[in-house]
């Protein structure tokens, strides 16, 4: 919301001062830097930028996600693999990159494994729910009304 205000401020300044051009330009320049600053600030408020972190911090984050995924949380692995992919393979090498690379690869493997397990279970359940007898009904969370 800061942009409209500064623009308005600039126009009012333009009306009341004779050497308005200069003042306005300065303020224009200020607006530009203001914008960038506010962008950077707002980025900082919402998202973590890996470029701003030191390599140790990056490794730390990657490791946390990797270890957290073992608690039956495959989404953490998925996020880990996608987010740190650029860091692991596309950026110039730095000392921690090798470790980050192993984490990313293992996270990717874990994600695929989970995907396989979930897909297989989903298909099995849908095909065999009625053939399992009572077990099928006890495993169903929302028991269907009106059909078997």
């Amino acid at each position: 919301m800061s942009i409209p205000k500064t623009r308005w401020r600039c126009e009012q300044f333009h009306q009341s001062r004779t050497n308005a051009n200069n003042g306005c330009q300065i303020i224009n320049a200020q607006i530009h830097s203001d914008y960038e600053e506010s962008t950077v600030e707002s980025n900082k408020d919402n998202m973590v930028s890996l470029e701003k972190k030191s390599p140790e911090e990056r490794l730390n984050i990657c490791r946390k996600y990797y270890l957290g995924g073992f608690a039956f949380l495959p989404l953490l692995w998925l996020i880990n693999a996608i987010w740190f992919y650029k860091q692991a393979f596309k950026v110039e090498p730095y000392p921690q990159q090798a470790q980050i690379r192993t984490y990313v690869i293992r996270s990717a493997i874990g994600t695929l494994a989970w995907l396989l397990i979930i897909t297989i279970w989903n298909v099995l359940f849908q095909v065999f729910r009625t053939k399992m007898g009572p077990a099928g009904d006890y495993l169903t969370f929302v028991v269907p009304r009106g059909y078997y």
Binding site: M1, S2, D137, V143, R145, G146, Y148
Partner: protein
């Protein structure tokens, strides 16, 4: 200031307009609903599901009316019509509802048949025969008696009740509903291009697959706070039995073998198309049999002093739940074999099959000129009894013993005892080959088939039916008392009593008879059923709020009461005190039913001393611990639960109409985008600017 004044004035006017206008919901304007339609529900047993099912939102389709066979054939041959429409709801005359027509429709239309709506044009145009029961009723499993030949007792039966339909079937039987529907149909279905009428049938049933699955799902719940959702209920009501209260064999007395005569009748019937408020059928079977049973009980009560002198007990029994695989009788015999008949008091000597002398059943009585006495087996039947009965009432004709028995509860009594312990006699209008009931087990089986005009029936009116019942039951009572108890008495019942019974059971169960024989201090449980007859439908457990069982309990126990108490002056309190001393019998204080009392007694209130027991009649399948409901040892019928039933008519727009609606919608959609863009461009309102945070 100006703005706020303008705002206030516009608010004031808009409030006036809103309160003055009659707002209607668009949905109500689109549909016309029929609330008095009958519907078909789903029932399950151990192996199958029967009945009809719709989707949750209702089955809808284009309406097509078929009045007779010619139109039916034309419709089936109309390939162009059938191919151009995606789903049909066929509206068919109820006369065409049999398996051949339904099968032809289902084969021709396959999945396009989305529902079936039957109609009855008027009460005077009923089909001559209408029965959805099997041709040989109650013959599905090995519950029946192993008889040598299969007789098609119900030769006009279509058997459609026991089929499973993937679409809903409903029926409208009110004349003005039919006329309204026809008006819509003629108005809109004139040609292909005009908009057509569509129907929506919603009869969603919760239950599916078999009783076992459904009962299992009843108990599944994953929530900590919600109750489990109910899917189905087992079928069953109450078996009620009563006898003279003076004759109780208590331990340590010994009950003599062959000392109990059971007299029984059924209390339920079924229809394929049910309705909450409406006739439930069941007049010829079992209403007349029930009226006869109660009349017989009253006659026995009248001569109780003679009957008591002998040592034979006459037990009157009503069985509920026999229409579907004899669940009630099977439960009764299960109880008897386990030693819980008669139940309720541990000190009463139990009745086992060896104590039973014989069974007399009243079944399928129509007002025919001849009645038939079936008996089985020939080795145990008492020919003297049969001869006496025939001589007392020549209307009754005996059928040669060992002929096949009609569908009756006695079959189960005989089967469970291998036909070796006691004979069974069935008094029925069914002759050797036919149940003479054209509307067996359908809602058409109402008092009009007994020549009773319900609109003019009064509490005291003597009808042909009541005269007929008196003519049949008095000789039967006489024969009964003579043959089994050995006493020669003259039995006569007041016509008024039978008139009152006919009125109460067939027209209005909230009648003076029941008020006079029931304990009014607990409140009148019959007021909610004012102006409704006794319902003869399938009852489910837990026992629904049907007035059938309280009525039978009160009336049967009153008719068999200890008549010596009619002359004793009791107060309500002293009557209740009696109950604390006597654990076998029940005591209640009632107003007194005048036609039943002798002229010598006229008291403000009477203490009724009677013997009454009621037992749940659900199948043993639901009672035995750990019984696998998929076995077929015992019948396991359940009825599904449902919530809303609705039948609605609406207009299906033509193809062009739908395309035009779609195009207008898309146009409005794009126009709204342009308008918004324009507004954003031309105004400085920050509301319309994109935000940067």
């Amino acid at each position: 200031m100006m703005y706020s004044l303008f705002f206030a004035i516009s608010l004031f006017y808009s409030l006036i307009f809103i309160s003055g206008s009659q707002s209607k919901r668009v949905g109500d304007e689109m549909y016309v609903s029929f609330d008095r339609a009958r519907y078909c529900v789903r029932r399950l047993n151990a192996t199958h599901e029967i009945g009809c099912q719709s989707t949750t939102r209702g089955n809808s389709g284009r309406m097509y009316m078929i009045e007779n066979d010619e139109e039916f054939k034309t419709y089936l041959q109309g390939d162009k019509m059938i191919d151009s429409v995606t789903s049909f709801i066929i509206v068919m005359n109820v006369r065409l509802f049999d398996s051949s027509h339904v099968d032809q429709l289902m084969n021709r239309l396959q999945s396009k048949l989305n529902g079936l709506l039957l109609y009855l044009k008027s009460n005077s145009s009923r089909p001559e025969y209408f029965s959805s029961d099997d041709q040989c009723p109650n013959h599905r499993y090995s519950y029946y008696l192993n008889q040598t030949e299969t007789v098609n007792w119900n030769s006009k039966g279509t058997g459609l009740f026991f089929r499973s339909f993937p679409f809903p079937i409903m029926l409208i039987d009110e004349k003005d509903d039919y006329e309204q529907l026809v008006r819509f149909y003629r108005q809109f279905n004139s040609s292909h291009s005009s908009p057509a009428c569509g129907l929506e049938l919603k009869t969603f049933q919760n239950a599916a697959h078999t009783s076992k699955t459904c009962m299992r799902r009843n108990d599944i719940t994953h929530s900590l706070i919600d109750l489990p959702e109910m899917f189905c209920d087992p079928i069953g009501g109450l078996n009620i039995y009563s006898k003279l209260p003076q004759m109780i064999t208590s331990i340590p007395q010994e009950r003599q073998p062959k000392s109990v005569v059971l007299i029984l009748a059924a209390t339920d019937s079924f229809q394929m198309f049910t309705k909450i408020q409406g006739s439930t059928g069941g007049a010829q079977q079992p209403a007349v049999a029930l009226i006869s049973l109660l009349t017989l009980a009253h006659l026995v009560g009248q001569v109780q002093d003679e009957v008591r002198k002998q040592n034979k007990e006459l037990v009157f029994l009503t069985i509920d739940g026999d229409t579907l695989d004899y669940s009630g009788s099977i439960k009764f015999l299960y109880d008897m074999n386990r030693g819980s008949f008669p139940g309720g008091n541990k000190n009463e000597q139990r009745i086992k099959p060896e104590h039973i002398h014989s069974i007399i059943e009243l079944q399928a009585l129509s007002m025919t000129d001849q009645l038939w006495l079936h008996s089985y087996p020939s080795s145990l039947t008492n020919q003297t009894f049969i001869n006496t009965l025939v001589s007392n009432q020549p209307m009754i004709k005996p059928i040669s013993p060992d002929s096949p028995l009609p569908p009756a509860s006695s079959q189960i009594f005989l089967r469970e005892t291998s036909s070796s312990l006691f004979p069974a006699y069935i008094l029925s209008s069914a002759d050797a080959t036919q149940l003479n009931n054209p509307y067996y087990h359908s809602f058409f089986d109402d008092p009009s088939t007994l020549s009773i005009d319900l609109s003019t029936l009064e509490y005291n009116s003597t009808t042909k039916l009541s005269l007929w019942v008196k003519r049949v039951v008095e000789p039967l009572a006489q024969t009964l008392v003579e043959s089994f108890v050995g006493a020669r008495v003259n039995v006569n019942i007041q016509q008024e009593i039978i008139n009152n019974l006919v009125y109460c059971i067939l027209k209005n169960i909230n009648c003076p008879l029941i008020h006079n024989v029931s304990n009014q201090s607990v409140g009148n449980t019959f007021v909610p059923f004012d102006e409704t007859p006794m319902p003869f439908t399938i009852n489910s457990y837990p026992t629904a709020k049907t007035p059938t069982f309280p009525f039978i309990q009160y009336v049967l126990s009153y008719f068999l009461r200890d008549r010596s108490y009619d002359f004793l002056n009791f107060t309500r309190l002293s009557c209740k005190e009696r109950a604390s001393n006597d654990s076998f019998r029940s005591y209640r204080f009632v107003g007194g039913y005048l036609p039943s009392l002798s002229e010598n007694s006229s008291l403000p209130g009477y203490c009724v001393r009677s013997y009454l027991r009621s037992v749940q009649s659900i199948s043993p399948a639901f009672v035995i611990d750990g019984y696998d409901l998929s076995q077929t040892t015992y019948p396991a019928w359940t009825e599904s639960r449902w919530t809303t039933i609705s039948l609605r008519v609406f207009i299906i727009p033509t193809g062009t109409h739908e395309v035009v609606t779609l195009i207008i919608g898309i146009l409005l959609f794009s126009v709204s985008f342009f308008v918004l863009l324009a507004l954003r461009h031309f105004t400085k309102l920050s509301l319309l600017q994109p935000s940067c945070s």
